[in-house]
Amino acid sequence: MNVSVIVDFLIGFLILAGALLCLIAAFGVIRLPDVYTRNHAASKAATLGVMFILLGTFIYFYAFEGHFNSRLILGIVFLFMTSPISGHLINRAAYNSGVKLWDKSVRDDLKKYNSNLMDKSSAD
């Protein structure tokens, strides 16, 4: 088994795994009950999926064309930095505009904290 066969398998694995993860993220967005749990699926599985696809593309062009495409690496880094923050912002915006949690949710410490804050400011 020589190196190019291993590289072939690696590229195939990365691209297929990335596509599969994106598919599962889409399933998650359809199946899960509320905004917050959907956001879990969208912000994690899709991130790693796209990163895998970009990495596979990078290795393909490097191994077969001899072309070192640094933009793909930059794309991976940018995605890695920005996607958790966008997930957080969407969640926060949803919470602050009053979107309810799923009715089987068990705890809500933020609600308590916010109502404490309200009590304090009304007491002042």
């Binding site: 993860l21 599962i24 993220a25 399933f27 998650g28 199946r31 899960l32 009950p33 509320d34 917050y36 749990t37 956001n39 879990h40 699926a41 912000s43 994690k44 599985a45 991130t47 790693l48 930095m81 958790p84 923050i85 997930g87 957080h88 969640n91 926060r92 919470y95 949690l101 799923w102 089987k104 949710s105 068990v106 705890r107 809500d108 410490d109 933020l110 609600k111 904290y113």
Partner: protein, 158 residues
């Protein structure tokens, strides 16, 4: 840390001027000798020897990657299970970190860990509100993960 790196580069240039050879190889040689000098004089600097700090940063990166893969496996398991039997909820997490970038880094790490997502940071930057996919049983485990992350971040900033 930035000062030590700058000093190291200056020492490398000094080496090039002493040797009167201006090519990358002598720069690298000078950099390595400068590293040695800075290592021996490390107690005169206010912060730690910067390679130690770089090393803890690399460790943090590997934790990041590992948690990303683990969180994806957890998500895939939950999504593909025929019955939805998770118990989501929001819990408060008190943090010891103070600087803005540390809290940003911690919340990104939490967002990429299995089944947790940061919703809000309190006004005084002391409490993070985390939405967990499956609260109850995992809360202890998640807290231990937080401790490792928090410790790794403190390690980097020390």
């Amino acid at each position: 840390m930035a000062f030590q790196i700058l000093l190291n580069i200056a020492l490398a240039f000094l080496w090039m001027f002493i040797k009167v050879s201006y090519d990358p190889i002598s720069f690298v040689k000078g950099y390595l000798f400068g590293l040695l000098v800075i290592f021996f004089f490390r107690r005169f600097f206010r912060s730690r020897f910067y390679l130690f700090r770089l090393w803890s940063f690399i460790k943090l990166t590997f934790i990041f990657l590992k948690e990303l893969v683990l969180s994806n496996i957890a998500i895939v398991k939950i999504v593909l299970k025929p019955k939805l039997e998770m118990r989501p909820g929001i819990f408060a997490l008190e943090t010891d970190l103070t600087k803005g970038w540390q809290i940003t880094l911690l919340s990104s790490l939490i967002t990429l860990t299995p089944g947790t997502l940061v919703i809000d940071v309190s006004e005084d930057n002391k409490i993070l509100f985390v939405h967990a996919m499956d609260i109850g049983e995992v809360e202890e485990e998640i807290n231990s993960i937080k401790n490792t992350f928090e410790r790794a971040i403190l390690e980097v900033s020390r």
